[in-house]
Symmetry: C2
Amino acid sequence: MTQMELARAGKTTQEMRAVARQEGLAAELIRQLVAKGQVAIIKNRIHKKSGFKICGVGRHLRTKINANIGTSPRQKSASQERKKLAACVKYGADAVMDLSTGGDLRLMRRDILRESTIPLGTVPIYQAVVDTVRHNKSVPMMKAETLFEVIEEQCRDGVDFITVHCGVTRKVIDTLRKHKRVMGMVSRGGTFLAEWVVCNKKENPLYEHYDRLLDIAYKYDVVLSLGDGLRPGCGADATDQSQIAELKILGELARRAWRRNVQVMVEGPGHVPLNQIEKNIILQKKLCAGAPFYVLGPLVTDIAPGYDHISCAIGGALAASYGADFLCYVTPAEHLRLPDITDVKDGIMASRIAAHAADIVKGVSGAAAWDKKMSIARKALDWKTQSSLSLDPEKFTNKKTKMHLRDKFGCTMCGEFCSMKEMDKFL
Amino acid sequence: MTQMELARAGKTTQEMRAVARQEGLAAELIRQLVAKGQVAIIKNRIHKKSGFKICGVGRHLRTKINANIGTSPRQKSASQERKKLAACVKYGADAVMDLSTGGDLRLMRRDILRESTIPLGTVPIYQAVVDTVRHNKSVPMMKAETLFEVIEEQCRDGVDFITVHCGVTRKVIDTLRKHKRVMGMVSRGGTFLAEWVVCNKKENPLYEHYDRLLDIAYKYDVVLSLGDGLRPGCGADATDQSQIAELKILGELARRAWRRNVQVMVEGPGHVPLNQIEKNIILQKKLCAGAPFYVLGPLVTDIAPGYDHISCAIGGALAASYGADFLCYVTPAEHLRLPDITDVKDGIMASRIAAHAADIVKGVSGAAAWDKKMSIARKALDWKTQSSLSLDPEKFTNKKTKMHLRDKFGCTMCGEFCSMKEMDKFL
């Protein structure tokens, strides 16, 4: 039985209790939310490793963040990706996705599963396409059977959630053709499927055989992350007919999954101007009956390559404050190249700031209290406590050592004219 | 006559035309907005330097950003601050404030005025306090006369806007005492004045002799930036009685300035949780009759020292999208130390992203079009155009060189699996 099935049967599992403890909430509340599909517990049933950090995503919970790692055909180093994984865990990502498309994908995934203490997600179509291409075949020659075999293989390996672009249907692709976009499709997995659908004149196998997908997900209690193949790749394409057409299908598929006791999340945009973010969240929550929303950004401008972690933090904070539950990080390398370890760290920190800023206003347990503690330490010029309360104590200490001029008389910003000191004289 | 006086007399000045050209708007519209006080043109009348980049702040205009530079008692290097000034101009700050409190303040300011091509702001009370302290006197022993002399001196030197904490009145300080805060006062200038007021049991001279201040501002057409001495220094203190009590006074003072044809801006918070930002902007615009709003942040969380440029970009983007006109940058060094040149650059870039993300949704002329051009170049894998359209072409190129693997087949992120390429096969 899946977590959802158990929740609906009134059982409070060990996993639900772990989520409840982590969030400072009642286990019974978690059970109810899992039963309704408003919270997903991201854990493959075979994932029994000790030290595994449970991750619940959804309503009333702390906003979680995901970090993407993985090779590409041009950067195949498995050891580099293992280092990125270590950075993800160290710097506080709640989950990691292996998006590898270069090197030995199976070996890499199994390495990551062995080493990771946080949930792992994948996009199985990548492996199916890579396998196809390595046999000197083009994407449309990929067999639907291959795709399902890869999905089953990955779930059997212990992957906790998978992105499946089930909503890239023939009808949705027609919509995309009718309503021209500046950027077309920017989802890699979505594009593979669209190419397959168009060239083969057949329906998307993940949509057509969705029940088969549900069978596999049910078997391993893997969370289906319903991918947004039609997510806008630039502000100009945001919230258009194609995006919404796909979202409606994802809403139907979420309900179908729940009827089979399969946990789901719904993925969302993308690149979205500031004033369309609220609408996007409301729409998703409504069309998908409150399913956890996993947003890839959103980036609020397209003109800042090298700083897209900031464009993403702005959109992510806003999205989460309106109800998005899970933020996929974007690194400073986005739109430029595969990220390196520094990029991974910067991306995680930016997303954690966004998530936390939202959690303060979402009323997440402990969020505002954390800020208050920091502010009390700041007023007291208690640098040690400030450091330990910092999102990134490593950076705090580094900056401190670099200038070694911070003390009870203030820092180099104001020196003797520190208003924290000045105030004591009269307030 | 000041720009405002001329505007009200129906005259369209050279400065108004320059702002209109820069913004892609009609000169007559600028004249009307200056006449109403909804746009301030930040330029001391004696500031006639060729190459001076005009800066209009307010309604319908591009959101501007300010960068703070200046020494402290512990970091007195004038040459370092000159380098920071060069970075401010190079990386696109619209204005700069010299907040020096260490070394030879007069020399530094005159150096900056000679070298700068963008408007300069100051906080004159810093110099008045530094002068007082250097005569072995405490802050409350500062003479009101000294403060006004310093203000006149700085305006005579050519400073374009000055922050004056006129709203830190006895009544407001009483409010602060009645309604305890976590952080008390964090405005350095505001704290000096509050200390002076409390210890001398006298009214704030900038409030009591506000007309004298208006005389000086009128004489040089210097924009008064009505400082928010009571801005919240942490999220827990945001939008409290003290902050609003001061804001009401600033609203009255803005109207008094306008009656004397003096241009004003109103400064705002500070540290503000995400869900209070809109309210803050609406309140300021209402209480201050649409005066340009100059926000110092706002920072949406307190727990990210080392990354406060990101906390600030989130709040700044949101504030500007709701109508804030001028964003003061925050650097990664905030709450830690005086920024170095890298911090200055990072702070400027983060604020420019915030301002631009807001300009897209404010409908500022050319903003959305810039993003669209970038997206078209991105779709075409035209790296050269992408670089030239980047907010920071230097960073774009740097990242590119570092990986030297970006070409017409995509970048190292996806390599041969680039969805931009893939799409061409079927869309």
